[in-house]
């Protein structure tokens, strides 16, 4: 393994993505969850794009296609998250998830 600037950039992107994943899991605010989902997916797409090298004068299309499909898929998941957030807002009046105990009571 050779430590170079590209590897450092990739590691920073990875750390940003994992931090977003942690906040996605622990956050109770639904809009914040959606935002962290986008950041996590954007970091995974950026990692894919970092693997698109020129090959015999052409850019490798596979990471570009993977990143493109991943972003479109993430936007679809974001749409579902926002629909559920809208339903929670309509029922409870807030965008926060209530913590419940084992019996389902607040």
């Amino acid at each position: 393994m050779t430590l170079n600037s590209l590897l450092i950039i990739r590691c920073l992107i990875l750390v940003a993505g994992l931090a977003a994943l942690y906040r996605l899991w622990t956050s109770t605010h639904l809009i914040k969850k959606s935002l962290f989902w986008l950041i996590f997916q954007a970091s995974v797409a950026a990692l894919w794009l970092s693997g698109s090298y020129p090959y015999h004068g052409h850019w490798n299309p596979l990471p570009q296609v993977a990143a493109f499909l991943l972003i479109i898929f993430s936007i679809g998941v974001l749409a579902i998250m926002l629909v559920f957030a809208s339903g929670v807002l309509r029922n409870d009046g807030v965008l926060e998830i209530k913590k419940t105990n084992f019996k389902g009571h607040s």
């Binding site: 990875l14 850019w59 679809g76």
Partner: protein, 188 residues
């Protein structure tokens, strides 16, 4: 002695413990993946599939752009899966619309019909060409319609139908979310 910690707190700490375990495992796997990638500028053997796409893509698919050749032709099954996923998004939003009793104008219902039609058209055309050709959206089937340029035109048809489905599904979601917001403010 009475147990003082509440079940709620227990679940909370339990989930935090597992996220840390999960994050450590995920970061180890992803870091291994990162260091396995060759450095920039190297003619890498890791992407031998990509080299095939770049070397033969234009001849095989008839598309000058390698990105489009991979997206619309070589990886068109991924597009079909993406179309199925956005069909699910459309149906989820339709369920939300029914549950929330939101009314829409007839014109706005056009987006849901467009999404359903495009995904259904892809499935029907794919299955039809599977029966009469040899594969899903098979170019041997399209050769009856388009002749020698069947493969290129078949790939464009797949791409167009998936694009219509994705765009109409997102427009439909945006409209329903905006209408739900309006209704919420009307009620308040």
């Amino acid at each position: 002695m009475k147990h003082t910690s509440s079940p709620t707190l227990h679940i909370f700490t339990f989930s935090r413990f597992w996220i840390w375990v999960f994050l450590l495992l995920l970061s180890a796997v992803l870091f291994y993946g990162l260091i396995s990638l060759p450095p920039a500028g190297e003619t890498n053997p890791t992407f031998h599939v990509a080299s095939r796409y770049l070397d033969r893509g234009t001849d095989e698919t008839g598309m000058a752009c390698s990105f489009l050749a991979v997206l619309l032709d070589y990886r068109s099954f991924d597009l079909a899966l993406l179309s199925l996923f956005f069909l699910s998004v459309t149906l989820t939003v339709l369920l939300f619309l029914t549950a929330e009793n939101i009314s829409l104008t007839r014109l706005k219902w056009g987006w849901v019909w467009l999404s359903l039609f495009s995904s259904l058209a892809l499935l029907v055309l794919g299955c039809f060409s599977f029966k009469n050709g040899g594969n899903f959206m098979d170019y041997q089937f399209w050769a009856v319609v388009f002749g020698p340029s069947a493969r290129t035109n078949g790939a464009w048809i797949t791409g167009l139908l998936v694009f219509l489905n994705v765009a109409s599904s997102l427009m439909w979601t945006r409209i329903v979310l905006a209408r739900g917001k309006e209704k919420r403010f009307d009620t308040e």
